[in-house]
């Protein structure tokens, strides 16, 4: 792919300043890669509008003829999508709130207060990022089943209230650490205690990063598959991800319906992504930066 373009662009490069030619080449490569990366999504959309007959034509056609919009209502009724959406939100909302509360409290404790052993405790917490999830999942599952919470949303929500995803604590701590110290000191002189400083001073100026954490953890709950798979067994309590997986097992050859169902689970994510893209990218950037 790139070798061919390189030769065809050599002529151009000679005539112009080297920087321009290189940039033009980079631009073209970007276009080609974008097209390639969007192709699966085009395939998804195209398949979700097709009739069964057309989907099995080979070589494949790209334009559905006719557009079969019924795929969507059909996919949405075969599986109670609305119910699964509600179920997913019943997990997502308390999980996001819990993550925000527990992670921001911990992050403040690690970033703005000086206490002996603080960095050691944080280091130990952070090291659990390397812990394979499955190793804790098995005993945790047995624990929840001992106290009778299997087939409820409790095991899916509670860990978020206990700062389970250390990554968010890390992200918030990075942000809090870079806020000017004077903020706390001024409030302290006025007699505010750390909780008041946290609530009235730090949180209001941290809205962007809190939004990042809310988006990332919300997405996490939306996409989560292994946890609902393990903890939820009755189909009326399924989440969207779990419902989609079950749908896959039942309708293996009805690709148009499967693609329509997949589109339905993807579209909300895309909308959130486009609305909050700036925060999104910022959040990911922050995760790798600023020691």
């Amino acid at each position: 792919m790139s070798a061919m373009e390189e030769t065809s662009f050599k002529d151009l490069i000679v005539r112009q300043r080297p920087g321009v030619g290189k940039r033009r080449f980079a631009f073209l490569v970007c276009i080609v890669i974008s097209l390639l990366m969007m192709m699966p999504l085009a395939w998804l959309v195209r398949s979700s509008f097709m009739e069964m007959g057309q989907i099995f034509i080979f070589p494949p056609e790209w334009i559905p003829q006719p557009f079969r919009f019924e795929n969507f209502p059909e996919a949405l009724t075969v599986i109670p999508f609305f119910r699964y959406f509600v179920n997913t939100m019943l997990i997502l909302v308390p999980s996001v709130v819990g993550t925000l509360v527990s992670s921001s409290l911990a992050a403040y404790g690690f970033a703005r207060l000086n206490w002996p052993g603080r960095d050691l405790v944080f280091g130990v917490l952070l090291s659990t990022l390397m812990l394979p999830y499955i190793i804790t999942l098995l005993p945790t599952f047995l624990m929840w089943s001992q106290v009778g919470f299997i087939n409820t949303y409790v095991p899916l929500i509670v860990p978020n209230w206990l700062g389970f995803h250390v990554f968010y604590i890390f992200l918030l701590r990075q942000f809090f650490k870079n806020l000017p110290r004077e903020l706390d000191e001024a409030a302290e002189i006025d007699g505010a205690n750390p909780l008041e400083i946290f609530w009235y001073i730090i949180l209001p100026v941290s809205r962007p990063v809190l939004l990042v954490v809310a988006i990332l953890s919300g997405l996490n709950a939306w996409n989560d598959f292994l946890d609902p798979l393990v903890y939820i067994n009755s189909s009326d309590k399924y989440t969207l991800a779990l419902g989609l997986a079950q749908f896959t097992g039942l309708y293996t050859s009805q690709w148009n319906l499967l693609m329509a169902a997949s589109t339905v689970i993807i579209v909300p994510v895309l909308i959130v992504f486009f609305l909050t893209q700036r925060y999104f990218i910022e959040g990911v950037t922050m995760s790798g930066l600023k020691g």
Binding site: N114, L125, M130, G291
Partner: protein
């Protein structure tokens, strides 16, 4: 502290730096105290202040530390204890010593197979997706038009729920009506069976993993943007070309970011699950029996909690060994420049 330093290293650095920070704060406090003319009381007040910060600090982190103990420390210990039993939901567990581990190492070819499959996938997908993410970041670090749009498009596939992308790729890999065989036909190449053939299933899944390198790309891009321009200018002055810049400036300056992405992607690759569950069910001929999928099957389909816990411990030890290996060798290839900001 260096802006682009990796977080895992930063804990070490933070440990070192905290001493300095503490002194800074205490100086500022004593100054404040002195200005109020009570330096004798300052010392006692300082320690009281420290105690107060300790209580508050512990209070703030208590939820997270409680979660750490309840959902991580206790489960890890419990997992090891369970791995020494024949725990099975149907009957009471009894202690069987290291039998599960013996069985795993000597009498379970599927364990070795799953270990091999997972290692093969990781060794293949980690470098390939990292190189691809790096190349994309390099492209986005040029001054071309519509940069924001390209960044969005390259990132977009990464946000798609893995369950949906697995179904989509399953359909694209379809040997009879899928997108990829249509493409191969178009290029005049022989058709393939992709995930339906043991020899191709892992390469196919590696190819799929290249689709969602967005976060890695963004982290690389941020690292690239922090490489000081003077270094490139220096190469220009010395008459170096683009390759010299990449080899002697970009890559050395990016090694901390590379280390970070390497660790994150190794840990993620070793825990691949959904692809196996949705797309291949571990097949064909256990050719994609990822270890987490195997553990899931043993634990939740065959109810062998004891044996599954032993398998989980094996994975845990592999990850520990690999991270230690990466960290130990990292001081040989990771370059931390001395500047401070």
């Amino acid at each position: 502290m260096k802006r682009w330093q990796t977080p895992l290293h930063s804990c070490r650095a933070a440990g070192r730096a905290s001493g300095t920070r503490m002194t800074q704060i205490s100086t500022s406090t004593t100054l404040a105290e002195r200005s109020s003319g009570r330096s004798a009381a300052a010392k006692r007040k300082l320690s009281r202040r420290q105690r107060r910060e300790l209580y508050w600090g512990l209070g703030f982190v208590s939820l997270a530390v409680g979660g750490f103990i309840l959902l991580k420390v206790i489960p890890i210990v419990a997992s090891f204890v369970i791995s020494l039993t024949d725990w099975n939901v149907a009957r009471a567990p009894s202690f069987i010593g290291l039998n599960n581990y013996m069985r795993m190492l000597t009498a379970d070819p599927l364990f070795w197979k799953s270990l091999w499959v997972t290692a093969y996938y990781s060794l293949f997908s980690v470098p390939v997706s990292m190189a691809f993410a790096f190349a994309l970041a390099m492209l986005l670090n040029t001054r071309i038009p519509a940069l924001g749009m390209f960044r969005t498009l390259f990132y977009l596939p990464s946000i798609i729920p893995v369950i949906a992308s697995s179904i989509l790729w399953l359909w694209m890999f379809n040997p009879d009506f899928g997108l990829f065989n249509a493409g191969l036909d178009l290029l005049g190449l022989p058709r393939q069976r992709f995930i339906y053939e043991e020899g191709q299933v892992i390469p196919s899944l590696v190819f799929m993993s290249m689709w969602s390198v967005g976060p890695m790309m963004i982290i690389f891009l941020a690292g690239l943007q922090d490489v000081p321009n003077q270094l490139y200018e220096a190469v220009d002055i010395d008459g170096g070309n683009a390759w010299h810049k990449l080899r002697h400036v970009t890559i050395p300056m990016m090694t901390p970011t590379i280390l970070f992405n390497l660790l994150i992607s190794i840990v993620a690759a070793l825990q691949t699950f959904v692809q196996a569950f949705i797309m291949t069910e571990g097949g064909p001929n256990n050719g994609s029996l990822f270890i987490v999928f195997y553990i899931y099957r043993k634990a939740f389909q065959e109810q062998q909690m004891g044996y599954a816990s032993a398998l989980a411990w094996a994975l845990f030890l592999v990850i520990c060994a690999l991270s230690i290996l990466v960290f130990k060798t990292s001081n040989r290839w990771v370059f931390y420049h001395g500047g401070d900001d």
